[in-house]
């Protein structure tokens, strides 16, 4: 079985970049990382298909390539697509709630850390929580990419989503960045 070296290299690079991006605190970058990883896995499926450039048709003349990995790839693409859509919604909601799309530390982790702070004077740099907000992609941007609309802002739109939305604000006054 001969495979394309270029595909393998691209796949490896995609995996590396994907993992790197997923380690970020910003959810938007986690999403990008996930997309890269998903595509890397799809490329891996293509690599294992064997010789590139052949049609996967049964009964065609000459050699045919294996159709099964293509079916698997298609399924995987659909799944990745659905999960990314969900992640986008999650990012939007997270931003809507806290004007931030970062993964914050678990409250209990912070509690444990504060308890051990008494015993241990110096902590590692992870204790500086304030600086992490800066990695958010949306904050501090003059042209904030998203205008938050509650259902009450749009007449005729009734949804039965939970009621803990932030208070509706005027689209003009929304700059998003005043929290950080």
């Amino acid at each position: 079985m001969s495979v394309s070296l270029a595909l393998i290299v691209i796949m490896a690079v995609l995996f590396a970049c994907g993992v790197y991006a997923m380690l970020e605190r910003s959810l938007t970058r986690v999403l990008i990382g996930f997309l890269l990883l998903g595509n890397a896995a799809n490329l891996l499926l293509l690599v294992v298909m064997g010789e590139p450039g052949l049609a996967p048709f049964y009964g065609a003349e000459g050699e045919v390539s294996d159709p099964l990995p293509q079916a698997l790839t298609l399924t995987a693409i659909v799944i990745t697509f659905a999960v990314s859509a969900f992640l986008l919604a999650l990012i939007y909601r997270s931003w809507q709630l806290g004007q931030a799309d970062t993964v914050t530390d678990d409250e209990t982790d912070i509690a444990v850390r504060e308890r051990s702070l008494g015993a241990e004077e110096t902590m590692d740099d992870e204790a500086e929580l304030g600086g992490d907000d800066a990695t958010t992609d949306f904050i501090g941007v003059d042209t904030s990419p998203i205008t938050v609309l509650g259902s009450r802002d749009v007449p005729g739109l009734v949804d039965d989503a939970p009621t803990d939305r932030p208070a509706p604000r005027r689209p003009g006054s929304d700059r998003g960045g005043d929290r950080s």
Binding site: A41, P69, D106, P162
Partner: protein, 518 residues
């Protein structure tokens, strides 16, 4: 008979579609969900009976494709048993959540989304259990995971989004790992059918086998919350609504354990990582239970014991004798039921007392004797006191380990007993403080438990709410099931033993074709 098999997956999906369309009619949604899961339970029971009595697994090839190429649904005793148990659990938790929703006016569970997601979760779980090829197992995992993403962030409040994100990102990574492993297995063997994989795997060089084996183990261990890949679990589970936590705790990690069982017994019969599994099992048991001891909040205590008891199942897998596999499966069934019941009971405590912190809640024994009983029975059961099923499962496991008798087995048996005692300690301390302690004794005990004062969420108080009768009924039903696991331990253990014996027998592709009637 084989016509019934695809219904296990298609019925819940169909029910989810109907429930989604009927989004504004609560009663229709409830009726659809309950009917669907009841039908699935009946079908699964019929399948379990047929498969167990007939002794032959049922294989169905979807769409009529010849067997190694198409999607194969494969129902053996293990799959049928787990589908039966999980549909019982899903049904009970559904009733519990219906009761909760009716009483709350659905403030924190938007009802139009809950039922469809719940049914899709059920479809994913069933699909994972009856998948005959690795890729279908992956699809089953994805179905249940995407549904679980929705359920864990239900209501999308700030705390649920925060903890949900941890869960989601970790699950995404494990899914990608799983997909990459499938691609590599396909590259090495040219098939994703589990039976064919197990046949061809022996032809590969040892190191390739080991690589593929470890990749799959890694992906499944994240899902099953095996130490050191378990830290996401106590972070994310306690924040979700009580019924969601209950069903996740009972079933989602067990789907991971199920995948581990298939990997260890069927796919990689030759490649041997049992020593590694032993060490991991010991660490999972001990670290998990130590976490539980340090907690002051009931949901968090239970989340940590959940992690710790996954260790028993990994231990059973690592022994790898038919008796041990049988014991593992019995333990798994016991744990699914008992852990769910405990979370439901704690859900009742939360409503009755307005808190799940064992420091704050007092005198429940007098105030709510029914809840006290509903907590006590599964707690003692999980702790492994005789005569309950937890004792039977652990005893069978230790017995199988002692028969092998190597020094590491002895270490693990001791570790298992210590874990069991510490579990009992954590759960009984909660019992003493929250149920047994009277309000006026609080000052006296305060000094003795001051070391728990800094534990997470020790002081959170929410409003007290009435408990609808249906929630108590659902929990009582589950407690009766846990007792039934003990009373009918004989026949159930017989099934588990037969599963253990059958799983370690290699199977050929022609057998599979025969069972599918091709």
């Amino acid at each position: 008979m084989s016509g019934l098999v695809p219904l296990l997956v298609t019925l819940p999906l169909l029910g989810a579609a109907i429930a989604l369309i009927a989004g504004r009619h609560r009663k229709t949604q409830v009726a659809v969900s309950i009917t669907t899961l009841t039908i699935v339970l009946v079908i699964a029971s019929i399948l379990l009976y047929t498969v167990d009595v007939g002794g032959q697994p049922i294989a169905v090839s979807i769409g009529g494709w010849p067997i190694p190429f198409g999607i194969v649904l494969y129902v053996d005793r293990l799959a049928a048993l787990l589908v039966v148990v999980s549909s019982v659990v899903l049904l009970a938790v559904l009733l519990f959540s219906v009761g909760q929703g009716a009483a709350d006016g659905d403030d924190d569970t938007p009802v139009s989304i809950f039922h469809p997601s719940y049914l899709i979760l059920a479809a994913g779980i069933f699909n994972a259990f009856i998948a005959g090829d690795l890729f279908n197992l992956y699809v089953g995992f994805e179905i249940l995971l995407v549904a679980s993403y929705v359920l864990i962030t239900l209501g999308s409040t700030e705390s649920r989004i925060r903890t949900g994100v941890v869960y989601i990102v970790v699950s995404l990574v494990s899914s990608i790992l799983f997909l990459a492993s499938i691609a590599m297995i396909y590259g090495a063997l040219g098939t994703v059918n589990m039976v064919q994989i197990s046949q061809r795997m022996t032809e590969l060089p040892q190191d390739t086998q080991l690589l593929l084996h470890l990749m799959l183990l890694l992906a499944f261990s994240i899902k099953a919350a095996v130490f050191p890949l378990s830290f996401w679990l106590p972070d994310s589970y306690p924040t979700a609504p009580a019924p969601v936590t209950a069903v996740f705790a009972g079933l989602l990690t067990k789907v991971g354990v199920y995948a581990l069982i298939r990997t260890e017994t069927q796919l990689f019969a030759e490649s041997d990582v049992n020593t590694l599994l032993m060490i991991v099992a010991l660490a999972t048991m001990i670290v998990g239970v130590l976490g539980a001891v340090a907690q002051a909040e009931l949901k968090r205590i239970l989340s940590f014991t959940l992690v710790s008891h996954i260790g028993y199942m990994v231990f059973g897998l690592a022994i790898a004798t038919p008796a041990a596999i049988g014991a593992t499966i019995y333990y798994m069934v016991h744990h699914i039921v008992v852990q769910t019941t405990l979370f439901l009971a704690v859900g009742l405590v939360e409503r009755r007392a307005g808190s799940t912190s064992i420091l704050r809640v007092t005198g429940l024994m007098r105030a709510a004797p029914v809840i006290a009983v509903l907590y006590f029975i599964p707690a003692v059961n999980l702790g492994g006191l005789p005569p309950f099923s937890g004792f039977i499962g652990k005893f069978a496991l230790f017995d199988a380990a002692a028969k092998v008798g190597t020094p590491i087995m002895m270490v693990l048996i001791v570790g298992g007993i210590v874990t069991s005692l510490l579990t009992l300690y954590a759960l009984m301390r909660a019992w003493n403080l929250s149920f047994w302690r009277e309000e006026e004794d609080s000052a006296e005990t305060e000094s003795r438990i001051s070391y728990l004062g800094g534990a997470p969420a020790a002081g959170i108080q929410t409003e007290r709410r009435v408990i609808p009768r249906i929630m108590t009924a659902a929990t009582t039903g589950m407690v009766i099931v846990t007792v039934a696991l003990t009373v009918f331990a004989g026949p159930l253990y017989g099934v588990c033993e037969r599963i253990g014996a059958a799983l370690l027998e290699p199977m050929s592709i022609s057998q599979l074709e025969e069972e599918a009637g091709q």
